[in-house]
């Protein structure tokens, strides 16, 4: 096979951060018109590499070639001028501007200060870009802040492709997208590819990568490991093997022998938080793992907030027979609940605080005497969970901001468990974290259930729910629309139910 001239070549790129060699002599090349997936666990160096291509970071060593000529990507503007566009995992939109204004923002930035914004043409360009993503139903005049997270992510992609683009970097583009939206996204990617655009695709969803990528490169611990042409020879196991450096078993699954007890641990009765969540009732047994599936607007996210007292609610919630006053997260915690939130960086972690302080933040009574903190207790609690979860930290004083997503999630999980909850609610527990950490978190969950902790998982990842839960309740338009046992559930059946299909054998127990 004759090799075309790569559009981008990286030669011996290294990047040192305080305490970490983020990139260690990485060489890679990207061909015109290919979909090139870059995989690796969190902390493997993918994001650093993408930031270098985006012009946000400068490498300490090494050389970047564009069309065979050396180039210094000194700033994002230089990088954009070269036709490199990045869609980040973290949204970078102006919430108070309209969809059209957001899409045209970068163009506007390149005009002189006194250029008049030509609204008519702006709407048109925006509409065209949205159309290509199959999002004709979104009005370009809508404020971005009013869209769902998934829609916002698509707007960000629309912005990237509304301009001249030669290399499109997608960093976890679909962590918040539904399957339908993902399908659209893939169509767009194929379309761009046929026009000769190079797509660099960073993702944790390996199945999708296998489906779409032409070539797959793997990184590990800041080093380049290998590049594979995606043909029949490439399997999930093979990729995972490259990523973690050794073969891993598939994720630990819920076993059918782990039958939960008959004792009811959590009773949710007619809980509603209108308009998104209508009266919802269900019961969970002690030691049971129950899952909630549903599309982004199904009300499953609101259910989490309502149960934990983050939003006002009506109805009753009983934990181990004791009614919780509808009210605050403080009440929820005092009555034995703990929440691992979906938005890890926003409402999960205290990014500016240390590992040990994050760990004890929800259980201050336990680590204090007469309101005075006991540093030995703080350190001990932190050390216990760091050891139990195999969290990678350099010191207990390390700021959480500097940890990888998977390790941050372990610390947030430790914070929840330090309150010694009877009910653990996990909201998108593995969003944006790598395979290794994901596997470890599943393992922790199963161990907890075995120790009679009741677990509620609310997730958009169906394989996660099917693999981990005893039962799965499916939400649709603010209500529970069906119930599956873990063994009978299939992705197809859950999805159909999540899209509104009623089940003939709808379980009576659900409606109470």
């Amino acid at each position: 096979m004759s090799q075309p001239v790569p559009i981008i070549e990286l030669h011996h790129i290294s990047k040192q951060f305080p305490g970490v060699l983020a990139l260690n002599d990485v060489s890679m090349s990207f061909l015109p018109g290919e979909i090139h997936a870059v995989l690796g666990e969190n902390g493997a160096g993918k994001s650093t590499l993408m930031n270098i291509l985006a012009g946000d970071l400068q490498p300490d060593k090494g050389e970047i070639l564009l069309d065979g000529k050396p180039i210094t990507l000194a700033s994002p503007a230089v990088s954009q001028h070269a036709g490199i566009r990045v869609v980040y995992q973290e949204l970078a939109l102006c919430m108070n501007l309209s969809v059209a204004e957001n899409i045209m923002l970068t163009n506007a930035a390149n005009q002189t200060a006194l250029s008049l914004a030509r609204r008519g043409r702006m709407q048109e360009t925006a509409r065209a870009a949205l159309g290509r993503l199959g999002m004709d139903h979104i009005n370009p005049k809508t404020k971005v802040g009013k869209l769902s997270v998934a829609q916002q992510q698509l707007v960000e992609i629309a912005r990237a492709i509304s301009q001249q683009v030669r290399v499109l970097i997608l960093d976890e583009p679909n962590s918040a997208l539904t399957n339908e939206e993902t399908t659209h996204l893939f169509e767009v990617i194929e379309q761009l590819k046929s026009k000769g655009v190079t797509i660099i695709y960073v993702s944790h969803r390996l199945e999708e990568v296998l489906q779409i990528a032409d070539r797959i490169s793997v990184m590990r611990d800041g080093r380049y490991i290998s590049t594979m042409v995606n043909d029949e020879g490439v399997t999930l196991d093979k990729i995972i093997n490259q990523m973690v450096g050794h073969a891993v078993d598939h994720f630990r699954r819920r076993t059918s022998e782990a039958a939960p007890s008959q004792e009811i641990a959590l009773e949710v009765e007619q809980v509603a938080s209108l308009p998104a969540l209508k009266a919802t009732s269900f019961r969970v047994a002690k030691g049971e793992i129950i899952g909630f599936a549903g599309l982004p607007d199904s009300g499953k996210d609101e259910l989490v907030s309502a149960i934990f007292g983050l939003t006002p609610r009506s109805g009753h919630i009983r934990v181990q027979g004791k009614t919780i006053k509808s009210g605050s997260p403080t009440d929820a915690i005092q009555n034995g609940m703990a929440l691992i939130p979906a938005d890890r960086r926003g409402s999960g972690a205290f990014l500016t605080m240390s590992v040990e302080n994050n760990t004890v933040a929800a259980s201050l009574e336990r680590i204090s005497r007469l309101s005075f903190l006991r540093s030995d207790q703080i350190r001990q609690t932190s050390a216990q969970y760091v050891q139990q979860f195999d969290t990678r930290i350099s010191s207990h004083q390390q700021k959480l901001r500097t940890l990888s997503g998977g390790n941050q999630q372990k610390v947030v999980l430790a914070r929840g468990l330090a309150t010694q909850p009877a009910i653990l609610i996990l909201h998108e527990p593995t969003r944006g974290i790598d395979v290794g950490a994901k596997s470890e978190i599943y393992s922790i969950m199963q161990d907890l259930a075995a120790q009679a902790v009741t677990i509620v998982i609310v997730s958009s990842e169906l394989p996660e729910l099917i693999g981990q839960c005893d039962r799965i309740l499916v939400m649709f338009q603010g209500e529970i629309n069906g119930e599956f046992s873990g063994s009978e559930a299939t992705e197809e059946a859950i999805l159909a139910c999540a899209m509104g299909q009623t089940l003939p054998n709808r379980t009576k127990a659900v409606t109470l």
Binding site: P329, P341, G348, L351, N357, A362, L364, S368, S371, S375
Partner: protein, 340 residues
């Protein structure tokens, strides 16, 4: 880490460890302070004298007391612009009560309660009332100043026997403002030291202090952790109000007079500046009491030095402004380098 194996009290373990004092954020300020002192010691004979140093200590005390309170408010992610007015109103009310032949303690308690009340209003409006604290306290700055003008009718309040203050009460009151402990340490400085130690202990060693950092470091995460965010912030404002009132009362005792149109005018800016120079962040979650003390001292020593060197008072204001910007700029730039 060094202390984690020792059997000492928690206070010694987490609080005033040398490591904390010289933590990266404060180290720069500390070095700057030392350099300034060395420079002044070499250029001015008067600077190093005990009398001058204690004088500097007295001059920074009132701003220092308020800066301790401001540290709580800033770490919790809020700001209080009304402290100069609280300072004026509390001092004036205490003074007026003394003139009406009250004894000292009740008059001071009423003054302090005014500060607590103003803090509570600031806090409640900025949390449950959903208003930004910048707006709430900007409004209170004006409201409290207006209240002070109304109750004094704009007239000066002077605490002396001619106005009707009881002689022995006057003596006590003047002692807390003008007196010296052991004949040498100004009482204002004594109050500052007590407030700083109390504030430092509460902030770095108690669950309340932990919560203040948590609320400022991540409000949503604090909520999910079961921390009552609003309540923590209201308490921070009440602490601020109390210390602003205390400083105002001490000022009344020192001078011993005040006027609603002038007392403590613009003081909020000096207080915020000292706190920020000491490493507290306007966006919350960061700051320490030792840092704030360094910030207060830097500005105090600078003012003192400029006077000793005979620099015009007009140029002094300019130089202090520059120092505030430079101090924070150096901190930001080095912080960015540390983070990237």
């Amino acid at each position: 880490m060094q202390a984690s194996n020792s059997r000492s009290t928690p206070a010694l373990q987490t609080g005033w460890r040398l490591r904390n004092l010289f933590a990266a954020r404060e180290a720069g300020v500390f070095i700057a302070l030392i350099l300034m002192c060395v420079f002044l010691a070499l250029t001015s004979d008067a600077f190093l004298s005990t009398r001058n140093l204690l004088n500097v200590g007295r001059q920074v005390s009132l701003i220092g007391i308020m800066a301790v309170g401001m540290t709580f408010v800033l770490i919790s992610g809020e700001v209080d612009l009304s402290v100069g007015s609280t300072y004026a109103l509390s001092g004036l009310v205490t003074g007026m009560l003394l003139v009406q032949q009250w004894t000292m303690i009740p008059a001071i308690v009423v003054g302090l309660l005014i500060g607590v009340g103003i803090g509570m209003i600031n806090g409640v409006l900025s949390t449950y009332g959903k208003l930004p604290s910048f707006i709430t306290t900007l409004g209170m700055l004006s409201i409290v100043r207006g209240a002070a003008l109304l109750i004094t009718d704009g007239q000066p309040v002077t605490v002396n026997i001619r106005q009707g203050v009881l002689p022995d009460v006057l003596e006590q009151f003047e002692f807390i403002g003008q007196g010296y402990l052991f004949g040498q340490i100004p009482m204002q400085l004594v109050f500052f030291i007590i407030v700083a130690i109390l504030g430092g202990i509460v902030l770095s060693l108690t669950t309340f202090g932990f919560r203040v950092y948590a609320v400022g470091g991540g409000q949503k995460a604090a909520r999910v952790s079961g921390i009552r965010v609003f309540s923590v912030k209201v308490w921070a404002f009440m602490i601020m109000g109390t210390f602003a009132a205390l400083a105002g009362i001490l000022s009344m005792a020192f001078l011993p007079s005040g006027q609603a149109g002038r007392t403590g005018l613009g003081l909020e800016l000096d207080v915020i500046a000292a706190t920020i120079v000491g490493g507290a962040s306007l966006s919350g979650g960061e700051g320490t009491i030792p840092g704030t003390i360094l910030g207060v001292l830097i500005i105090g020593v600078l003012r003192n030095g400029l006077v000793l060197l005979g620099i015009s008072p007009f140029a002094q204001e300019l130089i202090i402004g520059l120092v505030i910007i430079i101090a924070v700029a150096i901190d930001k730039w080095t912080a960015n380098r540390r983070a990237s």
